[in-house]
Symmetry: C2
Subunit: 136 residues, 2 copies
DNA sequence: CGGGATCCCGCGGGATACTG
DNA sequence: CAGTATCCCGCGGGATCCCG
């Protein structure tokens, strides 16, 4: 589309390494992003802190267990912080740490791409499905 | 860091939906990106087409089976294309489709972020590990 | 309310062997 | 070389119950 040379150049470095062996920084971070819920958590916290139950409502189809684990991992990585208010019943607030906030921009790029190109992906999948149906 | 208001605004839209129910476009794409090898494949193909065996060498710790599956999925989504040369032995070339090429830019953003902030993440993890060791 | 502890199941994905 | 076909195991993650 546009001239991607600088972008491609940035990839060449990785591709030449000879690529991305098991424990490289990039794969480390990418794996964490692959963990099904982490990305959604960051998105849900983008517009400000939320409590545990608010996060559950924000992402309805997550189990308490998985929500807890996802939040713990993100906290461990310094992406979010966790504040316990010693009220009764307890209230716990999660918010993006400064490090987490810096993720929003690249993440927004991916989201925007997903939103823009999802129709094309769907079309490609439908095409493929038709082909499969036809050749039987 | 910088003023993130426009970025945050883009998230608010999703967070308000009330968020990202099970089969929304964004999660659809994000799930695919989570599939452990797909992102690496796109990276490996960024600087030009590659053959099956070249991809194996580029990402040494992937099994043939998983490589095949990852490539099939990406092809199904219209991200890459697959060309078979009827030589003997056969040669198969994979390359980014136009749709796939448009992914490089947002993906490069994530890669750059990962590269830049990985030290901070490691530091946070190490800190956490020390705390755990201390409280025993 | 915000978890922890257990149990349990599915499937992602590795290892191996075979094929055109 | 570029796959397919099987087999099999681990663990991600849901469901359920409990607790301060």
């Amino acid at each position: 589309m546009t001239d991607n040379d600088p972008v491609i150049a940035s990839f060449k470095r990785w591709v030449a390494m000879p690529v991305v062996t098991a424990r490289c920084p990039v794969r480390d971070v990418l794996d964490r992003l692959g963990e099904k819920w982490t990305t959604l958590m960051i998105m849900a916290l983008a517009d400000g802190p939320k409590r545990f139950s608010e996060l559950r409502r924000a992402v309805p189809d997550i189990s308490k267990r998985s929500l807890t684990l996802a939040l713990r991992n993100l906290e461990e990585d310094g992406i979010i912080t966790r504040h316990v208010f010693p009220t009764n019943p307890p209230a716990v607030e999660y918010r993006l740490a400064p490090l987490g906030a810096t993720m929003l921009e690249p993440l927004a790029g991916m989201i925007a791409w997903a939103e823009r190109h999802h129709p094309e992906i769907q079309a490609a999948r439908d095409r493929r499905r038709k082909e499969l149906a036809a050749e039987v």
